[in-house]
Amino acid sequence: MDDWKPSPVKPFGARKKRSWYLTWKYKLTNQRALRRFCQTGAVLFLLVTVIVNIKLILDTRRAISEANEDPEPEQDYDEALGRLEPPRHRGSGPRRVLDVEVYSSRSKVYVAVDGTTVLEDEAREQGRGIHVIVLNQATGHVMAKRVFDTYSPHEDEAMVLFLNMVAPGRVLICTVKDEGSFHLKDTAKALLRSLGSQAGPALGWRDTWAFVGRKGGPVLGEKHSKSPALSSWGDPVLLKTDVPLSSAEEAECHWADTELNRRRRRFCSKVEGYGSVCSCKDPTPIEFSPDPLPDNKVLNVPVAVIAGNRPNYLYRMLRSLLSAQGVSPQMITVFIDGYYEEPMDVVALFGLRGIQHTPISIKNARVSQHYKASLTATFNLFPEAKFAVVLEEDLDIAVDFFSFLSQSIHLLEEDDSLYCISAWNDQGYEHTAEDPALLYRVETMPGLGWVLRKSLYKEELEPKWPTPEKLWDWDMWMRMPEQRRGRECIIPDVSRSYHFGIVGLNMNGYFHEAYFKKHKFNTVPGVQLRNVDSLKKEAYEVEVHRLLSEAEVLDHSKNPCEDSFLPDTEGHTYVAFIRMEKDDDFTTWTQLAKCLHIWDLDVRGNHRGLWRLFRKKNHFLVVGVPASPYSVKKPPSITPIFLEPPPKEEGAPGAAEQT
């Protein structure tokens, strides 16, 4: 005990000084305490060393293991896909019941769900026919609202189409306003019978009818009142019924859990009437991945889709657009005129960018302001873009739409005398268009799928765009000489877009049937355009002169409206000369257009008094004499054809929509 001399605790390193001091201090006081202290200190010290050592070993091991497993993130990624979304909440909760009221009468219909009015229509001269509402069977949300004017022809076909698309299990509500039976044909009646309706299939003239049922399931309520006489209506009926809600489980499909299906699920739980996109068993794809275009010149050109509240149109349009070769989805922006939800849902289904626009002004001016805002926004969002493609929601887009633009867009850069490139040929009907590789220059702006040059918009159009108080059509305004300033548009012979819209601002079924239905639409992929550079200003004149020199002059004594005006040949070029006194004298042309059943509401498709189209697979040129500079090609012996306009009585349809 006595020989214990506290060793100078050297290893303490930094603490050295302090330990010396301590040693000295403790020597004077208590040796035992000192020994204790040294021992504890040493043990602690050992412990620390051990811990540091272990840590070092662990660190080294980790570094080594990391070096050895480079593909680690990929593994993580696979796992990631497996657990992207936690399993959905499966509790069914208390079963609820919806309280549904349906009213049908001559002048008013309404539907209320749990006290909330989801449909009310008492406007006069509107909303005639069968109103159909689809509710989600799990949530009670309105998924679709339609009215089919089954007093008019073909509307029942649309209704059959729609009802067939509705998923089984959904709650269907039908109610008649005014009259819904006149053109309700057997197919439609059979369908109503299959839904379990008693009165639907027997619906008579001016009957009132209210129906609630589950698609494929039981009828939940029905009321019907017969009209007593031809001149009067059935009594108003009010149907009140309870609709039991099913669990969310039953209302949804079990698609694989992918990003795409999450979009699909969100969409399908909100809206109805889009057919197989929501089919549980075999849903139609919502991603198309068309072939990329080699050397795509329009890959970075923004695409503005101008839309209103026609979500079914938008759906069809976007499908065709996203299926076109060379499309780049991130360049697409859909501009919706108004705060409508369903079009936004459609946009979200396809994973695109959607922008809503508070409506300004009314009617045509509203469309015009929507266009302006959309175009400005497009060039703001894509400041590097030199062009923008402008589309509308009621167009089908040809599979080679972008290929067509990619081959021709350099013309807009190189030729200042061009105003636009359009995918639409106003005069390209089934019987007047033939050659998908052929392009024209025309003095009119067709719209309906076209390319706008940024400099034209920013420097000329935007600063003087019609203000909201001017009720002008934007396209009519763009066609005015002050704007167009003698420039021309490039169009294909066979259109690359197809206008399918039947409802629209200036559009109705009759008008569509007469002017749009028989329009030719290219379905051939990858068409190689012919001789694109011959579309430039000077080159085109050479081309036209060559054509006219080759062309065989038709027999001008025959009636140009007769089919026999053109010989039954194929692949020939023919020319006819019509009377055209001045640059704006289109009397004979309009009559000719009328009897050829092409666009005759105003003058379209002309180039310096020349029209080019196809008849019976022959290229058919029409030259206005003497206004056209090509009149020099007229043989002296030929007298230009003159067609008398009919006496004015048949009020021609108003302003033609070409929006």
Binding site: Q39, E79, F335, T358, F382, P383, K464
Partner: protein, 461 residues
């Protein structure tokens, strides 16, 4: 005896272990220096230092972005600075032979990357995958300022910032959006209510305190510390931009309100004037940029921007400000070469310099040079007839970027003070008659030029 032995053993043990510890300390010091001293360390072990959390986070992040095709490039000022200093060395080091972690292992809280939003093809799902890789991510979204200028549009919100945290290190992904005027813009990082304020120390972030604007950088691919990254081709230029990148948006809402009250002038003349003024401004901006001279919108042009986000159609000229220390003697000849002849020159470089150039169609470009005093700035005016001098005083200001007529230009950040100094509190009301000698509230007489100097300080063409 046994007790002593025990003590001896204890002491021995302590000795050995402390020797061991010393060795470790030395080793650790070495290891730390390898991590810190970029370019200095001569460490031998090839994997030394690569287990730092910074490096690991960056590596994971780069793996993620390259597998998901997220177009990112490095903008972290600290790292760019280091890389810029050792650029040659970095370029010469081939991929395999990395010697030590010299850059990405530098201790820091964040690593900042930029995301080129317009090149990003598949945004969806990226976030989820990042989180599943171990990142904790935060996304900050806001409305799209590019739609703000247009009445009544409301779009999908755009992402402005992503912050992804891996253990203690966070990757700050700044989303760069393309704007009209050929520049990239990033948004202000605004913490909304539901965001966890303690997620990371937000105050220490290098980007996001304000919105920012940058020239679109050209990029280059380099291999740094075994990781392939894109960085600006000219890191020095980018680094210079960073401290002066603050961007302020035009006040579109107030401008709309202004036009509701005073109706926009859409006559042919007004449209034509705006077009000419815009072209003149663009020409002036190009010319000054070539010279490397900073300028900002001043007087009426600045008021037009601030009050109505457009050119005031009756203003008749375009006004720019330049700090006198940025003056270059070849300004006049550069403008003349650009097709803008000198109209008049008042003052001299030492005092009250003011240049005026004649644009096309009777539109004038006025350049005022600003002199800095301890507590204010001023520019001078000269009355040609009398040789009287005037002084226009402004409170001190700094420069910010903004977008005006499809251009990225400077304006005083403290715009309201600047405008109120120049036009008084009533600047909101349009005034068509303006006497530059009397109307401005900040004008002061400043004596008279000595007649002997008139030839130099009053030049009219």
């Amino acid at each position: 005896m046994s007790r002593i032995n025990k003590n001896v053993i204890l002491a021995l043990l302590t000795l050995t272990s402390s020797a061991f510890l010393l060795f470790q300390l030395y080793y650790y010091k070495h290891y730390l220096s390898a991590k810190n001293g970029a370019g200095l360390s001569k460490s031998k072990g090839s994997r030394i230092g690569f287990d730092s959390i910074q490096w690991r986070a960056v590596k994971k992040f780069i793996m993620l972005t390259s597998s998901q095709n997220v177009p990112v490039f490095l903008i972290d000022p600290l790292l760019l600075e280091l890389i810029n200093k050792n650029l040659e060395q970095v370029k010469n080091t081939s991929h395999g032979s990395t010697s030590g972690c010299n850059f990405f292992c530098v201790p820091r809280d964040f690593t900042a990357f930029a995301l080129q939003y317009h090149l990003w093809k598949n945004e969806e799902g990226w976030f989820q995958i990042a989180e599943n890789m171990g990142f904790q991510c935060l996304k900050i979204e806001s409305k799209d300022p590019r739609l703000d200028g247009i009445d009544s549009l409301s779009g999908t919100e755009i992402p402005l910032h992503y912050i992804c945290k891996l253990a203690t290190h966070a990757i700050h992904l700044v989303v760069f959006h393309e704007r009209s005027g050929n520049y990239l813009w990033h948004g202000h990082l605004r913490l909304k209510g539901h965001i966890d304020r303690k997620f990371i120390p937000f105050r220490k972030l290098q980007f996001g305190r304000y919105a920012g604007a940058f020239d679109r950088p050209e990029l280059q691919q380099i291999t740094v510390d075994g990781l392939e990254v894109l960085i600006p081709k000219d890191p020095a230029h980018f680094l210079e931009e960073v401290p002066h990148s603050r961007f302020i948006e035009c006040r579109y809402k107030e401008a709309r309100a202004f036009f509701q009250q005073y109706l926009d002038d859409n006559t042919v003349e007004a449209v034509a004037f705006r077009k000419r003024a815009k072209e003149l401004l663009q020409l002036a901006a190009r010319t000054l940029k070539k010279l490397g001279v900073r300028f900002w919108l001043s007087s009426g042009t600045c008021l037009g921007w601030y009050r109505q986000c457009s050119i005031i159609p009756y203003s008749k000229d375009v006004d720019l400000g330049i700090f006198i220390q940025d003056y270059k003697s070849n300004i006049i000849s550069a403008f003349q070469d650009a097709g803008l002849p000198l109209k008049h020159k008042f003052g001299k470089v030492e005092d009250s310099l003011e240049l005026s150039f004649q644009g096309k169609d009777d539109i004038k470009l006025d350049i005022f040079f600003f002199y800095e005093e301890t507590d204010h700035m001023w520019n001078g005016g000269t009355q040609a007839k009398t040789g009287k001098k005037f002084k226009y005083l402004f409170p001190k200001f700094t420069l910010c970027w903004t977008e005006f007529v499809d251009m990225k230009v400077h304006v005083p950040c403290e715009t309201i003070e600047y405008i109120e100094a120049n036009y008084g509190k009533t600047w909101r009301t349009p005034v068509k008659t303006w006497d530059w000698k009397r109307s401005p509230p900040n004008v002061q007489p400043n004596g008279i030029w000595p007649v002997s100097e008139w030839d130099e300080v009053i030049q009219l063409y």
